[in-house]
Symmetry: C2
Subunit: 469 residues, 2 copies
């Protein structure tokens, strides 16, 4: 191994190859602190060519590689855990915005650019890069692409997959594939880019990308509404779509107990609602150019309040009000951490099945764990609902005990998901956490093709072994 | 072979297996009548299980299969041409709309459904299926998916790829893969659906699909404008996007000589322009719900006429006026047929490179062929410009002579395309026509992966041999 290490030092320079455990500490643990691994070294290349040199050296010696972006993933897919000594490749030094083409509405970036930097670069050019996530300040675009990130604007702008026109990647043998196309249309064979998107670092290391930019809305209206039940939430979405169509950027829902929990645990947040309900909906509706949908939104809300479809609604009048509303939405994770031991899920079902999913998963969990609190929050417009079962801390002090309980709760939710033709991982991916669930629930035909494709690209199995497959 | 034939008769029933050359005539020639082939038989299965039975029989005997939808392709990809006897599998009897879910905004269909039938079903449900093509009355959705169809609404709604949530396909060994997911988000491994989309029948036979439906616009505004040059066309697109964003559904351009040719050859069409220019732009701008962008569009046009960016513009006031404008756009192919021997291209470049592409390809063709007329028409908003060189009929009476000239013109256009980082096939695909050009211009890394993936799915090479790869 020493010879690989010394050659890696030559490839990236001694300043950028970390081997001291103290220096590596932040790279060998995942964001949720569920996986603590160890690495042969952490390489921090500054160019695509340096990434290629690292991968070539590892390919020659059969050394495992773990690509790492902002290390904000939810499933441990970027953490070096396992028997094989691994080289962590951090893209954090590759932060150049390579090209901005406003006429083509594209931006070409290094994979290590943070999402927020790309949002800002787009804004400065008068455009919008619409991907929006809780971790946008820290996550890197390469990781967003490798995990096909979702977030709060998918309803209108799609997943990461829909925002990528081209990629550059270092293949598992160290060759550089330049697929940095800036085209809206290209029908010249199998679309390999779509294999890499969502492949979680198992087919190669994404080093650059061409991203689609959108027109920047000039008006943005934030609405918070309370409703009687989840059926009314779905009916509201349907009615809203008929009037506002693709101008609805965001349509998120939260159960009442989650809403209360957030407000209880965050004293600085103000409750904007007069009348409370069983569910809350967070909406964003945008307008372009001279168009201002304010009056139409107000009319829509009055109409639906009059008919009792909505109990109460508040339309943010100031930026501060809007920020307060979105902070309620984004404080969920922190609130849940304080409440107990959380077992959370990332389920998607057809949007029309969301009410059944909510009722059946709540019933199933409560029956088995009467002491659990069951919360819901999620992207209803995408059929992506996070169920969170929170158990009393006292019940979960031993990690093995918690793992066993979590497994039982997963089984309950997964069975409901399967019955409703849903997905066990809507936006978080598989990583290390969900590998066994994937093997259990995924169509064997697809699993076999995934394994065969992996063998085509990475016959030595050096790319992120133990993640996804 | 006889034993395969008799077993195929058992599989689909004697009424649905054609072997008489007269009955097969329409299935062995392509839409542009450039390829005349022959088939062992034409099988017309009525169910996915029957398709699977056919494929199993062919896999056992190593018989080639040619899947065929509406047979409207531009590149001969669905025509049985070649040394190996082939079974044509026509999906035309599989026309069931399996499911309509307006809350989930999806429709699930058999692959043989014609595009127009799906558009109509969506409309009846108050939704929009936005894919729109010249051949929409005849093409089938399975073919649209297998070729990743483009068309006139890509600017706003994307290519076929962007409208497919799930597919069902019969694999080359006869197994049925049920990938009919109705989910907006699903991050559980490599996205195999995207391999099938655009694979031109080389990985399996698509038998069903889940398609995304959109909200139906309530207002649609058609505008025709004349401009000085292609740079003004690009500037207009940019300005229009700033004001109307994703409300621009269509932005197509045509060179003056093409516009003249269409009007000369179609006496029933009215010329709506007072002032003519070197270029014409066909636009559609839509509004949702109560929103009516008429006034904003009028203001936009006046402003840009005042400043000389537009020479003249007409906003259709009646449905008849709108239809007249779109008929000018859609009569191009017919007009060109009458004008001479056409060599047409399906190029895409970054939108910002469109002016360079137009100038360089025109210059290159004119220099080599002073007698040719060079026309342009295309989807400027997608960077997809069709260059059409029309040679006098007299020069092209011998097919070999025409083929040699076409090859020279292709070379000129392809070189310009490569220089501008474009694609030699934006929306038409590769089929049989462009195989050699693909081998010549595509990145060898991608070609090698395409070949390897093909070998994983179809090791016996029975699926549409001679097409794409």
């Amino acid at each position: 191994m020493q010879s690989v290490l010394s050659r890696l030092v030559d490839a990236v320079g001694p300043a950028y190859l970390l081997t001291d455990p103290a220096d590596m500490a932040g790279y060998v643990v995942d964001a949720r602190r569920r996986y603590l691994g160890s690495a042969l070294c952490v390489a921090r290349p500054g160019t695509t060519e340096e990434v290629a040199a690292i991968v070539r050296l590892c390919a020659e010696s059969g050394t495992a590689l773990v690509p790492q972006g902002g290390n904000t993933g939810m499933c441990g897919g970027a953490t070096p855990v396992g028997a094989r000594p691994a080289v962590v490749v951090s893209l954090e030094r590759m932060v150049t915005i390579r090209d901005m083409d406003t006429v083509n509405s594209t931006i070409t970036v290094d994979a290590g650019c943070r999402l927020v930097s790309i949002q800002q670069a787009a804004e400065q050019a008068g455009k919008l890069f619409p991907m929006s996530l809780g971790s946008e300040g820290n996550c890197q675009i390469g990781g967003n692409i490798a995990t096909n990130a979702g977030g709060t604007a998918v309803l209108r702008y799609g997943n990461m997959r829909d925002l990528v026109l081209g990629i550059e990647a270092v293949l598992p043998d160290g060759r550089i594939w330049n697929g940095l196309r800036r085209l809206r249309k290209d029908n010249t064979g199998y679309d390999l880019k779509h294999l890499f998107i969502g492949s979680e670092g198992t087919l190669g290391i994404i080093t650059g990308a061409v991203l689609r930019l959108c027109s920047r809305p000039t008006t943005s209206i934030t609405v918070l509404a309370s409703l009687n039940d989840i059926d009314h939430v779905l009916a509201l979405l349907d009615a809203l779509r008929d009037v506002f169509g693709e101008r609805i950027t965001t349509f998120e829902a939260m159960s009442h107990n989650e809403y209360e929990l957030v407000l209880c645990t965050h004293a600085q947040l103000r409750d904007p609602m007069q009348v409370h309900g069983s569910w809350y909906v967070f909406m964003e509706i945008t307008g372009m150019g001279t168009e201002d949908p304010h009056a139409a939104v107000e009319q829509f809300l009055s109409h639906h309040m009059e008919y009792g479809h909505i109990l109460d609604a508040t339309l943010a009048q100031t930026l501060a009000q809007s920020e307060n509303i979105w902070r309620i939405r984004h404080s969920v994770t922190e609130a849940n951490l304080r409440a107990g031991a959380a077992v959370s899920h990332d389920t998607s079902v057809p949007v029309s099945q969301v009410p059944d999913f909510v009722r059946q998963s709540e019933y199933g969990i409560q029956r088995a764990f009467p002491e659990a609190d069951v919360y819901f929050v999620g992207h209803v417009g995408d059929g992506n609902i996070h169920v969170i079962a929170i158990l009393p801390h006292a019940q979960c002090t031993a990690p093995e005990r918690f793992a066993a309980l979590a497994q039982q709760i997963n089984d309950i939710v997964d069975q409901v998901t399967l019955t409703l033709a849903g997905s066990i991982s809507a936006e978080h991916g598989i990583g290390r956490s969900n590998r066994m669930r994937l093997r259990r629930y995924k169509d064997p035909i697809e699993l076999a093709f995934m394994d065969a494709i992996k063998a085509v690209f990475d016959p030595k199995n050096i790319m992120n072994p133990g993640t996804l497959l």
